[in-house]
């Protein structure tokens, strides 16, 4: 009679009397070593196998597809090993075995079912066979966009883009089927460039949607769209847009070459590209206009500019640009010309205030109080007598506070930002004056400076102005108004020396050779006077009004 099977736990020494802990450790170490060696052998074998496949494959390809579907599946699996989001679906297509490979989450599976699986399984007899992939695409597959691919690198890239791969036993080619579908943000209102009267739709993160927004605004066959992939790993689609019969000759080639020469592993946001297109990397002023507005892009294209739209980025780039482009808003064209001109002029005044007002305050208070009327000079002196710091330190303190508020408000969720604004404006603003840390006039000066910065239509441009405020303050603290004047001149020289694609960064500002462009610069003349495109951009066709176009 068999003994009943039972387990009992004993001490190791009780089962193997001669064993000891040291002996066990030794054996365990040996076992670990063997496991490690076997892993190394496995890796070496897989490398050798890869090398063998590579030796057979054409240059630049990791392997070559065979007629055997199992072998092909193994090759694809090895190329996409440890990618659990890749799905493999085997089925029978007539007599042959078929395999569908796709990336879950980026593929429309119902579309795949309808346009591929149903077509191949439902329409074929069980003993039917195929000659080549073209036969399948021509007769069976109903998907709109299919491509026969031979190169394994293309196959892998297509799968990772969301296209599905179809492999059929007995055929060494693969079929890439466009069935990409992914979650995306709907086209919505512009968040950073809202306008009161103009169109409200803005770019989202999907390149095709963004291109559609541009195309919807113009039916011009001369609007060309070239799409490249940039980023050795991310292979981000980047679209280059221009109007062929307007853009300056040579400009497209130059920008295209620059884009193609970008050698970087990833392109995540538009700024990645923008930095590569800037010729002065330490220059705080933006050298490409980033916008969320398709109407702005279309307007720029018809002035002879080039636009770059990057997949996964809601900001499109426009270049070449000049300072005036950062000072203009879509509202300037929806308002009456006289009002728009006044608004534009006030922006230029704001620009001056944003950089120089704190510096002028420090100069006058520290060096030239005599320039103020006696009454005002005495009241400022009285206010300053209560505060312990020199005017420069006071200004820096307030500047620091302003920067902190700005950063807090930008980073916080919208509801909290309002609260932070109240805290900043009421609590701290009032308290620093009551605590006699700074005087009330300086609070007014810094608040006005901050508001002037915010009035800039471009946030990036406003940031650059913030950057220049600090050296202006330092210059004023050392040499008063003389320092401010010298700093202003140096800043003008710096701005004059900036160029984007050989265009001056100051555009037509005070350039008498470009006097024809002045009508849409600091002021905006009525539309009927804007008969020509800006001369500074060198368009092939300058006629805007009254010509054939």
């Amino acid at each position: 009679m068999d003994k009943p099977l039972g387990f009992r736990f004993h001490k190791l020494s009780a089962v193997q009397a001669n064993s000891s802990i040291s002996e066990t450790c030794h054996r365990l170490a040996l076992l670990q070593k063997q496991v490690q060696q076997s892993k190394e052998i496995e890796a070496a074998i897989s490398v050798a196998v890869k090398d063998l496949r590579k030796a057979m494959a054409p240059d630049g390809q990791p392997f070559i597809f065979t007629n055997n579907i199992e072998m092909n599946e193994q090759l694809v699996r090895s190329a996409l090993s440890r990618c659990d989001d890749i799905k493999y679906r085997s089925f029978r297509a007539g007599k042959a075995k078929a395999l569908l490979v796709y990336l879950s989450g980026l593929t429309d599976t119902s579309k795949l079912e309808k346009t591929v699986i149903e077509c191949l399984t439902g329409k074929l007899e069980s003993n039917e066979t195929f000659g080549d992939m073209n036969e399948i695409t021509d007769l069976l597959i109903t998907a709109a966009n299919v491509t026969v691919v031979e190169k394994p690198t293309e196959v892998i890239t297509n799968i990772l883009k969301g296209n599905s791969l179809l492999l059929i036993d007995g055929i060494s080619d693969a079929l890439s089927i466009d069935a990409a579908k992914y979650e995306k943000r709907q086209i919505s209102k512009s968040e950073n460039e809202d306008v009161s009267k103009g169109p409200h739709d803005a770019f989202n993160e999907t390149l095709s949607d963004n291109l559609a927004l541009v195309r919807r605004r113009t039916k011009d066959p001369d609007l060309k769209v070239e799409i490249f992939e940039i980023g050795s790993r991310t292979q981000t689609p980047v679209a280059l847009l221009y109007v062929d019969d307007i853009v300056k000759p040579g400009l497209v080639d130059e920008i295209r070459n620059q884009l193609l020469s970008i050698d970087i592993d990833k392109v995540i946001i538009a700024a990645n590209i923008e930095e590569f297109l800037s010729n002065r990397i330490w220059n705080p002023f933006p050298q490409a206009l980033a916008t969320e507005r398709p109407d702005k892009i279309v307007a720029g294209l018809y002035e002879g500019r080039i636009s770059i739209i990057i997949d996964n980025s809601p900001s499109a780039l426009m270049l070449p640009v000049s300072l005036q482009d950062f000072m203009q808003s879509v509202d300037d064209y929806t308002e009456r010309p006289a009002v728009a001109s006044l608004t534009r002029f006030s922006r230029y005044v704001s620009l001056f205030i944003a950089v120089f007002l704190p510096a002028i305050y420090v100069s006058i208070v520290s060096y030239h109080p005599g320039m103020l009327p006696a009454g005002l000079a005495f009241s400022i002196a009285e206010l300053r007598a209560k505060t312990p710091f020199p005017s420069l330190l006071e200004a820096f303190l307030m500047e620091g506070l302003l920067e902190i508020f700005q950063e807090a408000i930008v980073r916080l969720p919208q509801k909290l930002a309002a609260a932070a604004g109240v805290v900043g404006a009421l609590v701290i603003g009032t308290t620093v004056v009551e605590a006699a840390l700074v005087n009330a006039l300086l609070v007014v000066v810094i608040a006005l400076t901050g508001l002037s910065t915010f009035s800039m239509p471009s946030y990036t441009f406003g940031m650059a102005l913030r950057f220049f405020r600090i050296p202006a303050l330092l210059a004023s603290s050392v040499l008063g108004l003389y320092g401010v004047a010298i700093f202003a001149i140096v800043m003008i020289v710096f701005l004059c020396s900036l160029r984007t694609y050989d265009e001056s960064y100051l555009g037509d500002l005070f350039d008498i050779t470009l006097i024809a462009d002045w009508k849409d610069g600091v002021v905006r003349l009525p539309a009927k006077f804007l008969t020509s495109r800006p001369k500074r951009l060198g368009p092939k066709d300058r006629t805007r009004l009254g010509g054939e176009d």
Binding site: Y482, I486, I489, S497, K535, R536
Partner: protein
């Protein structure tokens, strides 16, 4: 390509702006006394005659430059007077422009140290100004041209302030209107040299200008007309406001005149400070222009690739002399020297060179 036309050489009108703005400097505030002391009430006539005379000099320079369209003075003079004399004349040209830079730096920093920053050493003010000037000069010509155009449009503000002196104007101060002091008026014309120095840079700038339909003599002529009107107007206003006698006896008559202006019930005080502030861009333009002309002239004649090589060469000299002449006596001696050398260059050397060119041309035609 429309915009490339604009980007090549400067236009004739741009040349006119460059020359005009190069002449409007802080010296206008300081150099008035000598010629008013000679010409007295008729200083305005002296200014008008000076305008004609110095335009004549500029005209001769343009004619000389037109004989050698793509060359600067340093390149063509050896072919006219030989290498040794050519080098000497080129050296005189450089000295004229260097003296202009030094005069500008000294005039501006003196005014700033007296009226804006009374406790700041002048050396420091000169260093700061020279740093900015060097930063401007190391740029390419396109950038400098753009800077000049932008700062030029700020100059009208200066004359708005200048015109406030009208408030104290008394026409009786201009009497007698009939000139009885012809010698004094002519002496006053000569003393205008310090007003007008700077147009000599034409001899380097002409090859950088586009020879289009508009002639250089016309655009530069318009520039001189504007400047002459400003000086004539300035002389009338100043003499009419603070009298010729007062002008002759004070160091900075324009500032004196401005100080006497009172705008009751207004926010603006110390008008002279604003005026000095608006003179800074004008003086800067003149300094950069002269410095660029020196560096570019040297580059062309010595066949260098970059004009920037020559910028540090003259810097210590400019600094040292600018500080050295802070003393009023030395300043006056230097003023006389600068007047003499500029006058000699414009009215002796240039006509001589032009004569040699025409003679050479005549000979070539005979051959």
């Amino acid at each position: 390509m429309a915009n490339l036309e604009a980007k090549g050489k400067m236009s004739a009108w741009q040349l006119g702006i460059v020359i005009t703005s190069g002449l409007l400097t802080a010296r206008l505030l300081t150099a008035t006394s000598p010629f008013v002391s000679c010409a007295q009430q008729l200083a305005w006539l002296s200014s008008a005659l000076a305008g004609v005379l110095f335009y004549l000099a500029a005209y001769l320079m343009i004619r000389l430059g037109q004989q050698f369209p793509e060359e600067t003075i340093g390149e063509y003079i050896p072919s006219l007077v030989g290498r040794k004399f050519g080098a000497i004349i080129f050296l005189v040209f450089i000295i004229v422009l260097l003296v202009n830079i030094i005069n500008c730096a000294a005039a501006l920093t003196t005014l700033v140290s007296i009226f804006l920053l009374d406790r700041t050493p002048q050396e420091f003010l000169v260093i700061v100004l020279l740093v900015a000037v060097v930063y401007g000069t190391v740029q390419d010509w396109r950038t400098i041209l753009r800077v000049i155009q932008i700062l030029f449009f700020g100059l009208p503000m200066l004359y708005i302030f200048y015109s406030l002196i009208w408030l104290n104007f008394d026409p009786l101060n201009l009497l007698p209107l009939w000139p009885d002091n012809f010698i004094g008026i002519l002496q006053g014309v000569a003393y205008h040299t310090n007003y007008y120095t700077g147009y000599e840079s034409l001899l380097v700038l002409l090859p950088l200008a586009n020879r289009g339909k508009v002639s250089f003599t016309r655009t530069v002529g318009w520039g001189f007309l504007v400047i002459t009107l400003i000086y004539v107007f300035g002389a009338i206003v100043l003499v009419g406001s603070i009298t010729a006698k007062t002008i002759a006896s004070v160091e900075q008559p324009v500032i004196y005149g401005m100080k006497s202006v009172e705008l009751p019930g207004t926010f603006i005080e110390r008008l002279e400070n604003y005026m000095i502030m608006f003179f800074i861009p004008g003086t800067y333009i003149s300094m950069v222009l002269s410095y660029f002309a020196i560096a570019e002239g040297c580059r062309k004649s010595l066949k260098y690739k970059d004009h920037r090589t020559f910028i540090p060469v003259f810097l210590p000299l400019i600094f040292w002399v600018s500080v050295f002449i802070y003393d009023p006596q030395r300043y006056h001696v230097f003023q006389n020297f600068s007047m003499f050398i500029a006058f000699f260059f414009s009215f002796v050397i240039i006509p001589l060179l032009l004569f040699l060119v025409w003679r050479k041309k005549g000979r070539d035609q005979q051959c």
